[in-house]
């Protein structure tokens, strides 16, 4: 067990990696998780933040403004160019309705005369489906107002607005169906585990690569090669140490998640949480395999950091843990299927599925694919290590050196 102990010692001699990658990056996941608030389950609508700039004092404008307010999240914004730009830039308002001066009067007049109807101006910060639906609502309100304006030509605008409001007050009765017995897993915890794919890949890969590269460096591997411990045994011990490191990282990330989001998981079935953590564990195996691979490739810590980071970023983005794959095009969604993170994410979603979840066959199938990825990367790492070992141990190289020395 000498090698095993030495490997762990090498790891703990680099507390900075433990701190920066395991602790620090997990905190990033925490921030992400804590930034989302769980919508109550009856909350089924996706409404944008809307600002109404009412430059008109008429009845219709007031009615429209209050209708919009009832159907969105209203933010107050000052009526100035800079304030509007700021609101749009910082996404405080996704949709701004500007009701121009004299709109109510123009509307009534145009409806009566049959001329072109006046328009309200809108500012869209980011085009999205919810903004489109908001736009539809504004049009709906004004369409119904127009109907009433035509039907009640002699009525005052207050009367028209009142009846428009009554009609627009109708809405369909909605029930959100609870398809499972237990409450679903908190979004915050899901997001934390999704982000953990980056954390865990990076921390395990870097930490284990540091250890492996220590033993992989030419001088040390010559020295260990000369010792009476069989090469296989030494390698297995290093592997065992790396596995322990992986366990430490996994346990830390899982424990932190449970500690922080535990209160939000009350009532959730234990098997659902366990299968989420199992998914993370299997993904950790991929991290370990990747760390092994990087450790064989280079012993330059700068390159190790960079390689792990870039693979972590690329797989996290492509795997759909940072951006919903619904939003990217079909080709990207196909490429995504070539990353282990995609299957990890799928496994998580299956584990946390609203209609049950837990240890379902879908979870295991996806985790199986993650295992295959881990095996593949590990095999490539092994091949590299064989090639390197072969080069180092060749008699030819040694004899050349020896003959050179004797010649000197």
């Amino acid at each position: 067990m000498q090698v095993f102990k030495a490997a762990l010692k090498a790891f703990f001699r680099h507390p900075i990696y433990l701190l920066v990658y395991v602790v620090w990056l997990s905190c990033m996941g925490l921030f992400m998780g804590m930034s989302v608030t769980d919508a109550p389950s009856e909350e089924y609508l996706e409404r944008p933040n809307v600002a109404v700039i009412n430059r008109d004092g008429g009845e219709l404008s007031k009615g429209l403004a209050s209708f919009v307010a009832d159907n969105s999240v209203v933010v107050d914004i000052e009526d100035s160019e800079r304030a509007l730009q700021d609101a749009v830039m910082q996404e405080r308002a996704h949709y701004v309705v500007i009701i121009p001066e004299g709109f109510s009067a123009d509307f009534a007049k145009a409806a009566a005369d049959g001329t072109t109807m006046p328009e309200v101006q809108t500012v869209v910060s980011t085009q999205s489906a919810s903004v489109t639906m908001m736009d539809n609502l504004v049009n709906e309100y004004l369409n119904v107002s127009k109907t009433y304006s035509l039907a009640l030509p002699d009525a005052g605008q207050d009367q028209i607005v009142k009846r428009t409001n009554t009609a627009m007050g109708h809405s369909v009765e909605v029930n959100v169906v609870q398809v499972a017995e237990a409450p679903p897993v908190s979004n915050a915890f899901l997001l934390y585990l999704q982000f953990a794919s980056y954390t865990i890949l990076l921390s395990i890969a870097v930490c284990s690569a540091v250890v492996m590269s220590r033993f992989g460096s030419e001088e040390i591997s010559r020295r260990t090669g000369a010792s009476p411990i069989p090469r296989l045994s030494a390698n297995l011990q290093i592997a065992a140490a790396s596995f322990v490191i992986m366990l430490v990282c996994w346990a830390f990330v899982s424990g932190l998640g449970l500690a922080v989001f535990g209160s939000k998981l009350v009532g959730v079935d234990a098997s659902v949480i366990a299968s989420g953590l199992l998914s993370l564990f299997v993904y950790s195996l991929f991290g370990l395999a990747f760390g092994f691979f990087v450790g064989q490739l280079t012993s330059n810590e700068l390159v190790m950091n960079a390689a792990s980071n870039i693979v972590g970023l690329v797989t996290s983005f492509l795997g759909g843990v940072w951006i919903s794959l619904d939003l990217v095009g079909e080709p990207v969604a196909t490429i995504a299927k070539f990353t282990p993170t995609y299957y990890y994410n799928e496994a998580l979603h299956a584990a946390f599925d609203v209609s049950g979840g837990g240890f379902t066959s879908e979870v295991f199938v996806n985790l199986g694919v993650v295992c295959l990825f881990a095996l593949t990367v590990f095999a490539i790492g092994l091949a590299i290590s064989r090639i390197r070992a072969g080069k180092m141990g060749s008699w030819k190289g040694l004899s050349t050196k020896a003959s050179l020395q004797s010649a000197a």
Partner: protein, 397 residues
């Protein structure tokens, strides 16, 4: 000084790890972003087809108007169909479809043909999920039907004389657009450009790796090379100026390469203000150099681990600049709004804001404000670095 400059440049360019970090990394990441967001730009705003089950319990002709609406919404000839309705016999079957995920909702018509809606519960996803969008659209579409019908029935019951006017009847089904979109920002806002800006913020911090390496190489307590150089004839300050100038030149060049790649190869827009962008990059490189010098000068951390510290710092600060996908971007916006000081002291966020302010604002004032903030950050980093470097005692008995 000139020799220090020259050899610092040479030695850093020959360091593979540094070149990888500061040049290759942003390019690889930018390429990835480009692949991902091109699709987002094209197809993201199309509303998806919504599968829905309909249980019709209406009597006589009561459900006719609803069916007409449904037919119009699911007619594929008429532009894009919004709904994909399946008529089912009873609510049990509709429930089975809802549970298995075949549909997102069930519409049940009562005896009078008024609809009610059952929706599947929300499922967590990153940012806004398509499922949530589908539920919203479905509820809105059915709401729209209810409102128009309520208005029509109200008029038929209370003001039957109004029906003599054919315009009124027409207006029941007529849909006029009353909104016109107004552009108030300098460029047409496309959200995905923000990821590229955040990437430049990340690249700027990564470029601190250059300053770190250069400064580490002249610190006698950090590297053996530094120890050797200090006993040489060149004064400390001259060496420092040379090393810092060289770091700045390399960081700036690396950022320029990344910028040029993003702007000209990938075609990401910067609001047509490329000149100002270059100025911004020059300041960002200065900030990066001072940050590198600061971390390079901290005596307590071993040299090898410093790159780890810098990486961790960069990752953390980039999170708050919105690099890591939709949730991170939301988090960054939220922080900028709730705690502006936290955004102000985050150099990654400031570099990101440089480009955003050029892209969004019509006037240049916010851009220069951000430049000033970055210069102040640079000054603070430099002063702190100088404190660490001055009058160090390297070995004492």
């Amino acid at each position: 000084m000139w020799n220090t400059f020259k050899y610092t440049v040479l030695s850093i360019v020959r360091e593979r790890g540094v070149v990888f970090w500061v040049i290759l990394f942003p390019i690889i990441l930018a390429t990835l972003f480009n692949v991902m967001f091109k699709g987002m730009d094209e197809g993201a705003f199309e509303l998806p087809m919504i599968p829905v089950a309909i249980v019709d319990a209406s009597e006589g002709n009561a459900g006719d108007s609803f069916h007409t609406t449904m037919d119009a919404l699911s007619d594929e000839k008429n532009g894009e169909a919004l709904l994909a309705p399946t008529y089912v016999k009873n609510s049990d079957e509709a429930y089975r479809m809802l549970k298995s995920g075949e549909t997102v909702g069930t519409i049940t018509l009562d005896a009078d043909g008024w609809p009610s809606l059952e929706l599947s519960p929300g499922e967590g996803d990153v940012g806004v999920s398509m499922e949530q969008v589908k539920r919203t659209v479905l509820a809105d579409v059915v709401d729209d039907y209810c409102r128009s019908r309520a208005a029509a029935e109200d008029i038929i019951t209370n003001d039957p004389t109004a029906l003599a006017n054919p315009k009124v009847i027409d207006s029941f089904t007529e849909r006029t657009e009353y909104t016109s979109a107004l552009a108030i920002t300098h460029s047409k806002t496309k959200e995905y450009v923000r990821y590229f800006y955040a990437l430049l913020g990340f690249a700027a911090l990564m470029a601190a790796m250059v300053g770190l390496t250069a400064v580490g190489a002249i610190q006698p307590n950090i590297s053996p090379l530094g120890a050797r150089r200090v006993v040489g004839g060149t004064g400390r300050s001259r060496m420092l100026v040379g090393a810092i100038a060289a770091s700045w030149v390399i960081s700036f060049s690396a950022l320029l390469v990344a910028f040029a790649y993003i702007r000209f190869v990938l075609g990401v827009e910067f609001g047509g203000r490329e000149g100002a962008c270059v100025l911004g990059l020059a300041v960002a490189a200065l900030m990066a150099t001072s940050l590198g010098a600061l971390i390079g000068a901290i005596p307590a951390i071993p040299y090898n681990a410093k790159s780890g510290v810098l990486t961790g710092l960069t990752c953390l600060l980039s999170l708050f600049a919105g690099l890591y996908g939709t949730p991170a971007l939301r988090l960054a916006d939220q922080i900028a709004n709730d705690a502006p000081w936290a955004a102000t002291i985050n150099p990654a966020k400031q570099v990101t804001d440089l480009f955003y302010s050029l892209y969004v604002y019509t006037d240049m004032e916010p851009f220069f404000q951000t430049i000033c903030v970055l210069l102040v950050i640079t000054l603070v980093f430099s002063l702190a670095a100088a404190l660490f470097m001055r009058r160090q005692r390297y070995a004492s008995l």
